[in-house]
């Protein structure tokens, strides 16, 4: 007989399931302004605590405090707020299209708008993002035409991706937005490769990889970190920790009792853990990492702490697996409201201007949608010929034969 008790198998469980009270007591939230801002050339080993704490700028009164609050212009904040309103309005409109049966699928980023919008504001033209499916803010805070975006959602004859991709999987090299993959995590290491190429060529452009908390479990997460650690390319590795991967809470990716940012330290990559619902903290941390990359100091890892208010997608129902009131109980609040209140408090914004901005974006998106719908909805107007083109640069004989058999 063994002298040991029988072993027990461990499957992590979240703090609440449907019917339970939301419980975020396990998430430690330091006071805004309490975390130091190291010089950008600080070594990973000399800033370890920044991977465990949380960089925050906006305090409970909506005031910007501490070292990360410095040097952010009013213009950045006002543009950021407007872009966040634009993203939220767009999401709501596209949800409506899905409910009307005009698109098969949509994914909102409600509650996470500050991250993509604030990060993009810190980048320069020519830099490249390798996004996941919840960074529409990277595109919506540029001049990428709304009409084209909506046509992609509708998979119609003007879809820039010719109906080949699931709605929301945009691509625009010109706007620094790499083609989205449905296979999770693959883009994280590709971002590292793009940054390696920039360094090989002696360029000044940088890359950013994006991944969710759930997908950090993928092998490509490790591939990205080890290659970033080895070659020290100008890349920023962003983990959007929104607590949920469909129905799996962050603990199913090993993120319950250790932070995601702490993983970077084992690879000697400087890491920040940031309040992702605090636009000022997002912009400040992004600018810090961009400066490091641009000055040839190598990769930075950032964990953005946020909450997925929206369902995973239009095919998902979160009431089946998490407490109904959880998103309302999320202690870091709504990023849009927090920035709005900050700007109103400083006299830079008002309720009237806010309502006016919402109305303007609503009109803009409605007009683009109306125009896009003229070219078809739900895949109509898309030619079957599009299947065969661009599989290769030149169509090989076997594809030509198959296309001819289909008669297109």
């Amino acid at each position: 007989m063994s002298k040991y008790a029988p072993l027990r198998f461990h499957v992590p469980q979240p703090t609440g399931r449907p019917g339970d009270e939301p419980d975020f007591t396990g998430i430690e939230i330091p006071a805004a302004g309490s975390v130091r801002r190291p010089a950008v050339d600080t070594k990973a080993a000399d800033m370890k605590e920044l991977a465990s704490t949380m960089v925050r700028v906006l305090n409970r009164d909506g005031k910007a405090v501490g070292p990360w609050a410095e040097g952010i212009s009013d213009e950045i904040l006002l543009t950021g707020l407007k872009n966040m309103i634009r993203v939220r309005t767009y999401d709501e409109r596209m949800m409506t299209l899905q409910r009307q049966g005009k698109t098969s699928f949509y994914m909102k980023c409600t509650g996470e708008e500050a991250i993509a919008v604030g990060f993009k504001a810190a980048l320069s033209k020519g830099d490249m993002n390798f996004p996941t499916y919840r960074q529409q803010g990277l595109l919506l805070s540029t001049d990428y035409p709304l009409f084209k975006m909506v046509c992609q959602i509708l998979s119609n004859s003007e879809d820039p991706l010719k109906g080949r991709q699931l709605p929301i999987m945009y691509s625009s090299k010109e706007h620094g937005f790499f083609t989205i993959s449905g296979n999770l995590g693959t883009q994280f290491v590709q971002a590292v490769g793009w940054a390696m190429a920039s360094a090989i060529k002696g360029d000044t452009k940088i890359a950013a990889g994006w991944i969710g908390d759930g997908s950090t479990a993928e092998t490509d997460f490790h591939a990205a970190l080890v290659n970033a650690s080895v070659y020290k390319p100008p890349v920023i590795l962003n983990v959007v920790n929104n607590q949920w991967a469909i129905s799996s809470f962050r603990g199913m990716a090993g993120g319950d009792h250790a932070t995601f940012a702490e993983r970077a330290l084992g690879y000697d990559i400087p890491a920040l853990r940031v309040d992702g619902n605090d636009f000022l903290a997002v912009y400040a941390a992004s600018s810090w990492a961009v400066e490091r990359a641009r000055r040839g100091m190598g990769p930075t890892f950032i964990e953005w702490v946020t909450y997925r208010v929206a369902p995973h997608s239009t095919s998902d129902d979160p009431t089946q697996y998490r407490p109904k009131e959880e998103s309302a109980a999320w202690p870091l609040g709504d990023p849009l409201l927090r920035l709005k209140n900050h700007l109103i408090g400083r006299g830079l914004w008002s309720e009237e201007r806010h309502t006016q901005a919402e109305s303007e974006y609503n009109d803009e998106i409605r007009a683009a949608t109306k125009e896009a719908e003229k070219y078809g909805v739900m895949g109509s107007g898309s030619s079957p010929k599009n299947m065969f083109d661009d599989v290769y640069k030149e169509m090989p004989p076997h594809l030509r034969e198959q296309r001819q058999k289909l008669g297109v």
């Binding site: 090299k173 083609t179 993959s181 296979n183 590709q190 080890v226 290659n227 290769y392």
Partner: protein
């Protein structure tokens, strides 16, 4: 013309492209300072520097994943996966990413990369250093798959692959690296210095992807093969006296169907021969193509000779390997069938 082994020819192709095109980079495990476990990149880092030729972590998905990112930037990476048996961790990056970028982004992003990888057995490598996984790639829309059988084709095809704007899997039959091995493992090995196909022109030339070569003309039966099996087929032809036409496919995807059809319609018989496992192997596709296009010209059923559906063995390597005796026996049976 200089006489080269397949290793030297492959190295020379990379040397030519590194010299011609600043966007070409070469990397992989042990590829840089050391020059690769099979020496294919020997001296290239010394010549072109660590910015162009470098070692990678032991991380195949990372090798391909970073190469895809580099391709998206505008480089033209030529990467090495040390053994084809090690390519599986990179499969997702190849299938879901490299193969699909052009199509899914409507040409916004492409992956012009070449993945070199040694394949095949005959070196007592056991099950993790001997596999021929080409069919896993010919099944994937968006990648090209090639396998040369000699130094001349290896250099010309590798230059074509590096210049190609689509991803190319470049299989190197490692048993042919140093000489034209015909399956007679108990006889002294020959090397490329005495072979016509070891004559490799200096400088730039290409062998087109998508074109088969008629390796040896004949009238009795067509043997469709590639890589190491080309020389096995030649040995079986000599030893049986059966006048086989040996087609070296060179390029599996795209496939040169015209050359296949022309030959089978002439001979009326077809053997499909590969070292990879039989079931769902590339031979199944070849047999189907021949059946669809040459049925009324066939005088006997298409025969497949291939590796057994087992892991590639170590001690039993020569029982597994489809050598000239097995090929010859099947050839005779085909000729006697009618």
């Amino acid at each position: 013309m200089p006489q080269m082994s397949m290793i030297e020819a492959i190295r020379d192709a990379m040397d030519v492209k590194l010299g011609e095109d600043d966007n070409v980079v070469v990397f992989g495990e042990d590829v840089g300072y050391f020059g690769g476990v099979f020496r294919c990149t020997h001296g290239l880092q010394q010549k072109y520097g660590t910015n162009r030729v470098f070692d990678s972590p032991i991380n195949e998905s990372g090798i391909v994943g970073t190469a895809i990112g580099m391709g998206a930037y505008g480089l033209r990476p030529c990467i090495e996966i040390q053994f084809a048996d090690y390519i599986y961790p990179a499969y997702d990056q190849i299938v879901s990413e490299a193969a699909r970028l052009r199509h899914r982004s409507n040409k916004d992003f492409t992956a012009p990369l070449t993945i070199r990888t040694p394949c095949g057995g005959g070196i007592f490598g056991g099950q993790t250093h001997s596999q021929s996984p080409e069919a896993l790639f010919t099944h994937v829309s968006g990648v090209k798959t090639v396998m040369p059988s000699n130094p001349y084709d290896a250099k010309g095809l590798l230059i074509s692959a590096i210049e190609d704007d689509d991803p190319v899997i470049f299989f190197e039959p490692k048993r042919l690296y140093n000489g034209p091995f015909d399956g007679h493992h108990d006889k002294p090995a020959s090397n490329w210095s005495k072979h016509l196909l070891g004559d490799v022109p200096a400088g730039h030339y290409t062998v087109p992807i998508g074109k088969a070569s008629v390796f040896s003309e004949g009238s009795d039966v067509t043997i469709l093969c590639y890589g190491t099996m080309v020389f096995v087929a030649e040995a079986a032809k000599k030893e049986t006296g059966i006048d086989a036409e040996i087609i070296d496919l060179r390029s599996l995807m795209p496939l040169d169907v015209d050359t296949i059809v022309e030959s089978v319609q002439k001979t009326g018989r077809c053997m499909v021969l590969h070292e990879a496992t039989l079931t769902s192997g590339f031979g199944a596709e070849l047999a189907a193509q021949v059946q669809e296009r040459c049925f009324y010209h066939l005088e006997a059923p298409v025969v497949r000779v291939a590796g057994y559906d087992t892991p590639y063995p170590h001690a039993q390597e020569w029982d597994y390997f489809p050598g000239p005796a097995r090929v010859g026996k099947e050839l005779k049976a085909m000729m006697e069938a009618v």
